[in-house]
């Protein structure tokens, strides 16, 4: 039976009443144990939503569950965040250069960080815990990827290989590999046993204007399939699926900015203003055929069934499946997050 997405009636909205525009969402993360969702947005704080919260009428947005703003950095915006796999910690990285670790108690992060370090020479863009919760990987403006001991934020390793801003980092589910991607148009696969580079995937879509426009800014988001075999790379104007072991491209679609794999099924979601969800047929992922001159042809689209198309408006960022895979969260530019049940 094909998978199906059903929109949850509640919308999740955050605003602090300041006259400065909506809290445009950037990244969303489900809490692994509790019915909570956190999001980095256009603010120095993190938006915290109670997914079981009561709704109230919000002008212009209908019935919404109002979020709170927590984990304050003093200046800049929180750019990256992640929740520890055991659910007891939340890590935030900001444009203020800091990485902060907040303990999670009673359904919310603490008011003060437990630990704080100056993590990068520039914005801390991406933050992710390893699946075993031992490490925390960060990346950002200084083109470095850094590995931290998640318990005390002691620096374990600095990985050099990118030439520009690093936008995203992701671990494989078995924790054996870390993948980083950035504005230089590269995705680099690192072995976590040695922290050595195992391969570099040239995604492209980067020019000398780099961050001027998203379409020329290389890799924006990364995601790895549940079995660690496929790597999804989202750029400013295309989505590519690569065989993580060989690095070869096996599929491509004209979708941009966002990508997420389901944690327990062969489901894939991708796209910014329009999100598409596929029930993909992994057996049919294959490198593009070559023509008579040996030149590779264009890769094929994602094999399988497209089960949903969701329009959510321009610059809608934040896309993640919950730990069980029963829900998917979509951030939006207007300061809201929408939830869909996956069945």
């Amino acid at each position: 039976m094909a998978a199906k997405l059903t929109k949850v009636e509640k919308t999740f909205f955050v605003d602090d009443g300041e006259k400065r525009g909506p809290m445009t969402m950037l990244r969303v993360r489900f809490h692994p144990r509790e019915s909570r969702l956190v999001a980095s947005c256009a603010d120095r704080r993190v938006a915290l939503f109670d997914l079981a919260g009561e709704t109230q009428e919000v002008k212009g947005h209908g019935k919404c569950v109002l979020g709170e703003l927590v984990c304050p950095h003093e200046i800049g915006w929180v750019r990256g965040l992640d929740v520890h796999p055991d659910g007891n910690w939340l890590a935030t990285g900001g444009s203020d250069r800091t990485l902060r670790l907040w303990s999670w108690q009673d359904g919310r992060p603490a008011e003060q960080p437990t630990r704080e370090v100056q993590a990068h020479e520039g914005w801390v863009e991406a933050v992710t815990f390893s699946p075993n919760g031992k490490w925390l990987a960060t990346a950002g403006f200084d083109a470095a990827v850094k590995i931290w001991n998640a318990a005390d934020l002691k620096l374990v390793q600095t990985l050099s290989g990118h030439e520009r801003y690093v936008d995203d980092v992701v671990f494989t589910s078995d924790g054996k590999f870390l993948i980083s991607g950035g504005e230089d148009g590269r995705a680099i696969v690192w072995e976590t046993s040695s922290w050595q580079r195992s391969q570099t995937i040239e995604f492209g879509d980067a020019n000398n204007q780099y961050g001027q426009t998203p379409k020329h800014s290389g890799v924006h988001r990364l995601a790895v399939s549940r079995d660690g075999r496929w790597l999804g790379i989202a750029g400013g104007r295309k989505l590519e699926i690569h065989d993580l072991q060989s690095g070869e491209i096996v599929s491509s679609e004209k979708l941009n900015m966002q990508v997420a794999f389901h944690p327990a099924a062969d489901l894939l979601a991708a796209g910014e203003s329009e999100v598409k969800v596929w029930s993909f047929d992994a057996a049919k992922f294959a490198p593009p055929a070559k023509d008579k001159n040996g030149k590779p042809q264009s890769p094929k689209g994602i094999p399988g069934d497209a089960i949903a198309t969701i329009k959510r408006g321009e610059w809608s960022l934040g896309l993640q499946f919950s730990a069980s895979g029963s829900q998917v969260a979509l951030g939006k530019a207007n300061g809201t997050v929408e939830l869909y049940d996956v069945s």
């Binding site: 400065r20 525009g21 445009t24 800049g76 750019r79 204007q209 321009e314």
Partner: protein
């Protein structure tokens, strides 16, 4: 020597410049050395011109001087570095005292020579500098302007007036500058370092929030509807008031494309094509479709120009001369460019400069701007990217990082070089767009900032103005002015006064007085002088 003799020398050198240079270059196969020696030869010819018999061929006579100068050069080269250093110093002093009144021209003999080379028919410009009247003109026109226009409306929050920690502050943080207590955007490390050389205005206020009209006002001092004829760009006015001294050197050059709309690209307006900017396409390139300068190309051009002018004169008979002046002026400019040689050739600039200025169109245009002002072009407008690069309505802050960095790298290097090369005290550098951006991070596709005229920022400096000054202030979250409003008209009064141009002077168009600044509004920002 009388002026007739000097003019005769200029004409002879104009005709034989290339041959003379090739003769010297054959003996000294180094471009700069050959140019130096040719220059020395010209000085010698000038001194001995009274001995020249016009009935005899010029070149054999000139070659004798050139040969002697080559020998002299080679002898000098054998001397110790110390001796050479002393010699160059004395030559520099000599050139300062006798050749060029502008103190910048005295600092670098090579720059002077290159300026002369660019000055039309190789030494036509040099010859003119000998003439007393032109020397006086040079003294009167020893100020330059480089305008780097930040098209689209740069955000004051992400440049000169950051508000970190405020809800309106955005993700960028601020860094300290060389001025105690003053912070700029984190992606402006060079301009932060150089804040003590610049004037930062944080209290600009204007009324026009539309790109087309805003850019028109911000570059002409006129609202579009207040004048029957198009107002000239303020650098066209400057070119009109203080044209380039050297022959063949354009008075006003624009680098880069400005391809959004039409109204906002002010040209020479009622001043006519003669005062229009010479347009270069950007990325450090010179004018397009210009033949490679050579004696043959010049001769070819002059032959055609003679014919064209005869038609033009015939057409003009019985008609207002103004009808053909612009047309003639455009052709005259082409002729001047043909004679300007390598004026626009930035490939002659050191490779390390390209690294310092950054691998960007703006970086290469700033190198060209530097080259132009060094060689006598008084007014240069640099367009930072075409279209509306600073117009960050949407997806603003990540892309803002890059445009601000690109701008800071190129402009920071330009300021460093203007200072190092002794040009800072006579060059007005203006860094501005048409307006600022909203405190609200509303955008038209969040996150971004919309147009905002209530309070915004810009920066300028050099040309003997006060240094390290911050004019005006906004309130805590940048939503309103707090102190010392400065209008567009105040700004233009300030710029014109800096250039020793009466800001409330009248020009004339169709027998009507047209003031430089609309309705004679505004007052100079006195604290900057």
């Amino acid at each position: 020597m009388d002026s007739t003799a000097a003019e005769r020398l200029v004409r002879l050198l104009s005709t034989h410049q290339e041959t003379l240079y090739r003769y010297v270059f054959a003996l000294l196969p180094n471009e700069q050395d050959a140019k130096d020696v040719v220059q020395e030869t010209c000085v010698a010819l000038y001194r001995k011109l009274a001995e020249y018999d016009p009935e005899r061929p010029f070149l054999p006579w000139a070659f004798r001087f050139a040969h002697l100068e080559v020998l002299k050069f080679l002898q000098n080269k054998k001397r110790t570095n110390i001796q050479r250093s002393k010699l160059r110093k004395s030559m520099t002093i000599r050139s300062k005292n006798s050749l060029c009144p502008s103190h910048e021209h005295g600092f670098s003999r090579r720059a002077l020579l290159q300026g002369a080379v660019a000055g039309g028919t190789l030494f036509g410009g040099f010859g003119r500098l000998f003439a007393n009247d032109n020397a006086a003109l040079a003294r009167g026109n020893d100020k330059r302007v480089i305008l780097v226009f930040m098209s689209g409306g740069p955000s004051q929050f992400e440049t000169w007036d950051p508000k970190p920690g405020q809800p309106t502050g955005g993700p960028h943080i601020a860094i300290p500058t060389s001025l105690p207590g003053v912070h700029f955007d984190e992606f402006m490390p060079n301009l932060s370092r150089l804040a003590n050389r610049m004037i930062t205005v944080r209290s600009m206020t204007s009324k026009v929030g539309d790109h087309d009209q805003g850019r028109y006002v911000a570059q002409t001092a006129y609202n579009p509807s207040t004048l029957v004829a198009p107002a000239p760009h303020w650098l066209s006015v400057c070119a009109h008031e203080k044209p380039a001294v050297a022959d063949g050197v354009p008075s006003y050059v624009m680098l880069g494309k400005d391809n959004f709309g039409s109204l906002h690209v002010p040209g020479a307006g009622f001043l006519g094509a003669r005062h229009q900017a010479l347009h270069c396409p950007g990325d450090g390139a010179g004018p397009q479709d210009l033949p490679v300068p050579s004696p043959v190309a010049i001769e070819d051009f002059e032959r055609r120009e003679e014919l064209r002018r005869s038609f033009s004169d015939t057409f003009a008979e019985g008609r207002p001369r103004r009808l053909v002046e612009s047309h003639d002026g455009a052709f005259a400019q082409i002729g001047g460019l043909l004679r300007a040689g390598d004026l626009f050739d930035i490939s002659q600039e050191p490779e390390k400069d390209f690294q310092r200025y950054g691998d960007s169109n703006l970086g290469r245009d700033c190198i060209l701007a530097r080259r132009l002002v060094e060689r006598g072009v008084p007014f240069v407008r640099v367009q930072h990217q075409s279209g509306l690069a600073w117009d960050k309505h949407r997806r603003a802050f990540q892309s803002q990082r890059w445009i601000t960095s690109e701008f800071d790298t190129a402009v920071g290097a330009l300021i460093d070089d203007l200072i190092d090369r002794g040009l800072w005290s006579s060059t007005l550098l203006v860094l501005m767009g048409e307006f600022g951006r909203t405190p609200d991070i509303q955008g038209q596709g969040q996150p971004g900032r919309n147009h905002w005229t209530k309070c915004w920022s810009l920066s300028f400096g050099g040309c003997g103005l006060q240094e390290g000054l911050v004019v005006g202030a906004t309130n805590q979250n940048g939503t309103d002015l707090q102190d010392r409003p400065v209008t567009i008209h105040d700004l233009f009064c300030t710029f014109y006064k800096t250039l020793d141009i009466d800001p409330h002077k009248d020009l004339e168009f169709e027998n009507r007085p047209i003031p430089l600044v609309e309705n004679k509004l505004g007052q100079p920002i006195e604290e900057v002088f």
